[in-house]
Symmetry: C2
Subunit: 447 residues, 2 copies
């Protein structure tokens, strides 16, 4: 048997690897001139940074195993010393990073936030991430935006701001963009909201020494990967599948794994056409909007100021930051996320204004020493032809209930893989790897 | 000057015609082997029916003028004699079609519905359809689904059902699929909700003798239209635009009008890439789901039963019907809409089951004489490669506020046209024509 994999991100590479190990002949066809997809390596001052997917979280057991198997090592995200800065409105608070990022607020806001978090957690535990549409109240939960739930459940501006910032940080989308059911499903797929937001024992716990792109590059080393080969047409018939590339080349196989984000999968031409409901599903899975910005400094100076470089703010353009300095801490690198509506305003600015807006935010949070970075890099994922958004697809109201069942099943010889398709740890590198493995099993089981 | 128009629907043809009249050299490039786009002619028993866009409503002055100019005639949709059948739950009511389709319900439900309609109308009048994002409460109105508003505003099951059926009928989408702001904007663009739902003095008032497709065909007669020529790439630079077709042919022009629905416009390849926010807009404008079904009978027998063939029901798969018999009434043709979630379930059935489900619904509504049509035709617009849904794009929560400003402005030499872009009468043939004319003016004004 021969399988073609479209997309050399972690999902596609994992599917290819597992299939090849089972004796299947595999070819991976990648549009970009590099592997990794939404995982990409960059550098500031000669030190690696992750322009895309970065973290291996607590419980991301597949990634842990893969990293070990590939001879790589991880290190802890800087978190232990110094405080997280929480800025909601004009209120600034420092909280102990090791204890999670629930800010110290006035007692009314704190009680409000506590009841909101408890209600969210309780509701999330009732959702099965494999079948959110099967929830007894699925239509009610999917018929409203997460914003509606936030407004109804939280009474204080600070309480509401917390959930809105958390949504931006977690999904690169606004609370209006997704249904309550999607937010619940996403949280439970990733253990819970606290895990999603946390560093220690959370989704941002570990990083790969040398950069996460090494995982993709080492996986690709043993595979037949054809770079710079955008696929345009996927043809299937009784005999097999045939991919036609932009250059007009033809690649044949028995089955194909389409391992690109849904909004790109929907732009491929399928012959015969995808069924209506599957095409309309991809129409309804837009990618989030996010840019990552990096500034390098001679030292991680914030550590000397009792800060750990983590900020959560309700004021844009940068609302969330992390210390992504190299493990030796010899220089300081600060990562700022520009997300959702903030990203859409920011990305229309000229380059110099974008940089200024980011650095100004860093100064606001970390003081005047942030004003003069030695290097600055930004990566707007929605501007990338072969991503057109990140981190992943978000599900607007009605989509899980109306189209959820259409998400994972193959269409004839066409199988799907990617972080969006993962039941567990969806949206993360871990989810991508699990989805790729699940799709490989799906193919092996069918043949 | 030379302009290429992609898409020979009413918007594209109107733009082409207006430009040609102003002395511009125009070529229209159409993927299908016919003109009309979402307007298409069909026939049952040798009599024409509209498989797509059908009606010219009260106030659709551009269409009225166009029909007259093209030597065509209109006739009134059958409405005058007989009652509209309203079926909500197990409750059936007959209402006078000439007085609009507000059902006779029990007093509690009627009061509930009346206050809901009044509140909706009051709110809709505050929205400017040219700039819904500029509403002082835009974020609040766009942050919730229309479903949330319906649940909060309406207290009775019948009152809620009315708005849900109305949404399906008007948008081919469910109340969960769109934001409150979108529904308000759509209503005010089309005068008001009552106009959208009405026949006499409403959006379903008139039909074209011989079928609406004649409008497209007669417009195309004087234009250079290249059929069966799907465009795949739109390249622009300082010198002009270049379209590359699926067959590899090249068409050059000074400007291009992309007059295809947003979800298809997003699948074209642009070189240089569209800006991120414009690409993400098209990711967020999925088409509705609708199939039109037609059954022919020896006579319009329902007219003898005191019914006018119009049904509004909250039970699928067919929730809305119309009498679309030819003007002479010599045979009866009933049109049944299958929309939104109903369409997505129905379209997965085998052909025989689809037909049976539709005819069963007709029997439920109109009695046993509906059981044996002499002909049956169905058209699932979401299954069409060059529509992938109808009637048009719907705006989920957050989209108008985050992306609305990006909808209409050209990107360099690329201009947009279509029923989705119309300020007035959006979603209708009238809106398509107005949008096409506006885009032609936009080009003429710039050059």
């Amino acid at each position: 048997m021969r399988v073609a994999v479209v997309g050399a991100g972690l999902a596609g590479l994992t599917a290819a690897r597992e299939l090849q190990r089972a004796g299947v002949e595999v070819v991976v066809v990648e549009a970009r001139d590099r592997v990794g997809g939404r995982v990409e390596g960059g550098e500031l001052e000669g030190r690696p940074v992750e322009l895309g997917g970065t973290w291996i979280g607590e419980g991301h057991s597949r990634m842990d195993a893969l990293v070990a198997e590939l001879g790589l090592e991880t290190f802890r995200t800087w978190n232990d010393e110094g405080k997280v800065l929480i800025q909601l409105g004009n209120r600034r608070a420092l909280v102990d990073g090791a204890k999670g990022a629930v800010p110290r607020l006035n007692p009314v806001a704190l009680a409000d936030l506590a009841q909101g978090l408890a209600r969210f957690a309780r509701l999330a535990r009732t959702v099965d991430p494999a079948r959110p549409w099967a929830h007894p109240k699925a239509e009610l939960l999917d018929g409203q935006t997460f914003e509606t739930w936030v407004r109804r459940t939280l009474r204080t501006p600070s309480g509401r701001a917390y959930f809105r910032v958390a949504t931006e940080a977690v999904l690169a989308a606004d609370t209006s963009d997704v249904s309550l059911l999607h937010m619940l499903c996403y949280a439970v797929s990733n253990a819970d909201l606290e895990t999603l937001l946390a560093v220690d024992r959370g989704a941002q716990q570990d990083r790969v020494v040398g950069g996460s792109v090494l995982v993709a590059e080492r996986m690709a080393a043993d595979l037949d990967v054809r770079l710079s080969t955008p696929v345009e047409v996927v043809t299937q018939d009784d005999a097999g599948v045939r991919l036609t590339t932009r250059a007009g080349e033809t690649i044949t196989a028995d089955r194909v794994v389409v391992a690109v984000p849904p909004t790109l999968a929907g732009r491929l031409r399928y012959d015969p056409l995808l069924p209506a409901w599957r095409d309309q599903l991809t129409q309804k899975l837009p990618a989030g909007t996010v840019a990552k910005t990096f500034a390098a400094y001679p030292t991680p100076f914030w550590r000397d100021q009792g800060l750990n470089g983590q900020v959560a703010s309700d004021t844009g353009p940068v609302k969330v930051t992390f210390d992504v300095s190299p493990p030796d801490g010899e220089i300081g690198i600060l990562l700022g996320f520009v997300e959702g509506g903030e990203a859409r305003r920011w990305q229309r600015l000229p380059e110099a204004d974008r940089r200024r807006a980011v650095i100004d935010a860093f100064v606001t949070y970390l003081g005047p020493r942030a004003a003069h970075p030695t290097a600055y890099v930004e990566k707007d994922w929605s501007a990338e032809e072969f991503s057109r958004g990140c981190y992943g697809a978000h599900f607007a109201p009605g989509v899980w209930t109306a189209f959820g069942e259409a998400l994972r099943p193959p269409i004839g010889r066409i199988h799907w893989a990617g972080a969006e398709y993962a039941v567990e740890w969806t949206g993360y590198m871990e989810g991508a790897v699990r989805s790729g493995a699940a799709t490989a099993r799906e193919i092996l089981d069918q043949t």
